[in-house]
Symmetry: D3
Subunit: 119 residues, 6 copies
């Protein structure tokens, strides 16, 4: 059963971060919880689509100023086909609920991992 | 033009919080910014649907533990027709990105302002 | 296997919060994760004693100002036989790393759920 | 020398919170640090006027959502003769750097401990 | 009227960050809100002097650990003629209300963007 | 008496960070408070062992995402002889009370300042 969860978790990780993603380099328990529990169980829940979970995750990461993880999940959002304009609108909205500084930093991270296409 | 924004802002406020909502009892500038700028301009942006803005706002409020505002926006989500199961899935997801305690408190607030229907 | 985790989780919950503790009143998934994953797996890890996990949990709850959960885990610490003086020293220490206000509020919560013995 | 700091600390406490203020009901060390170190030393520093320290303290308390302490320091600001309009402008400003929800909650606390005079 | 706000906003931005400051490189809406609303309206409010708004902004940025923005607003404070000793006193004060770590990091940022003059 | 506290403070600093540690490069008051008050008084309290204070400090620093200070106190924990497995278990536990992202970042910092021994 855990193997099943691990496989499901890796499927979500590949969908978000690419086919060649490997298991995270975490201490054993944290790695296991991340693959089997977080991505293999929580992210599987059917009441939210994966695109919604991606947006929600980005929202938390922007609001709380978790910059390293933002860079990872902005790429995830892109891989899911979420339009960049939606992330821009998201950080503009969040500026008003968590303060300008977190959105300004999020925007800098977004520009770095997901550059604006030239016109 | 400001009058236009004020009217648009009140439309969103009525959609979220009911027809009889009145302007918030804030100091003058903060009230003006809330109605004309926040709801009359930011919430009008077309790259996110109002239901998405509601979910995003709830996400920030849960993640940062802003309990008084949660109670207001959980009602807003309900008025928009968002299913309760979606808010439940949201706070379960956020537990893993902002910690169990904020979700436990959010769940208590949800139960108070939006009781589970009996089966 | 999940049943095993659920039983182990309930054992920790009873040790912390008393024999008559019942499963938390959360949405289904969050309740399952709390009993089976959080208390049934994470709290079982052998590199930290349960008393250390209790202190660590109290530390996070004080530092982040999670007041409702503090009240629960201060009682848990008491049930484990942790001396009140240790919690007092903890909140005094944390005042310097997370700011006075969180410790002042934690102290008020401590006084309410775990009154100082009269001399 | 500590006695001197204790006396200086109580002087600031009386200036902020009234002549009949008593020592805070904290665990011994935290009470000593609060009176002798925080108010008896930190608040004595000459590079910031007491009114500036009051505003700065209110700013931190609003931004971080420390509501119980806000109620105490809003009264302190009032006792120092800081105009209510300045606190209103403060929380309106902070809304943009720490998010609307902390300012909305701060405003509710302000209304409770320092009611708006009728015109 | 928006043009008027934009011009007022740019005036504050130039006063804070120098004559050659350009509009921030943000997504369209966020840039417009920053120039016209935040600096063109909020920072214009007459109940707080610009030096007070600068100190308040630095306070929020220190307390919440918003390091990239600190570096910008420490320079702003310097351009307004606020003495360095005042910022030093500010971060020493905030250490007690938001914890030592945010002030230690703020001090490192201050040293980088506003070096101590040699004696 | 202050000299005594300064000496005691430096003893703790040397125990945590090595014999050749020097006074922190902070503004005068903050440096004095750090050596004499924080390490010379708070860390001396007898209700918590120095190893417990180290773990508690690491806990706050992980939970609040204070990364620069984490790197310092992870080294301190190592110097005190705390096993790396305990810090790994700590950050795995904290992931559930403050969210995955702070623990993922803490783990990266841990790997950098305290590399895993090869098997």
């Amino acid at each position: 059963m855990s193997d099943d969860k691990a496989e499901k978790g890796m499927q979500v990780l590949r969908k978000l971060f690419g086919e060649d993603v490997s298991e995270p380099q975490f201490p054993d328990d944290l790695r296991r919880y991340t693959v089997e529990h977080l991505f293999g169980d929580v992210w599987q829940g059917e009441d939210l689509a994966i695109e919604e979970r991606s947006l929600i995750t980005c929202t938390v990461l922007i609001a709380m100023g978790r910059e390293a993880e933002q860079r990872i999940h902005f790429r995830g959002a892109r891989n899911l086909g979420i339009p960049r304009a939606k992330i821009e609108a998201l950080l503009t909205h969040v500026a008003h609920y968590a303060g300008w500084p977190v959105s300004v930093s999020a925007n800098r991270n977004l520009d770095e991992v997901w550059p604006k296409e030239s016109p």
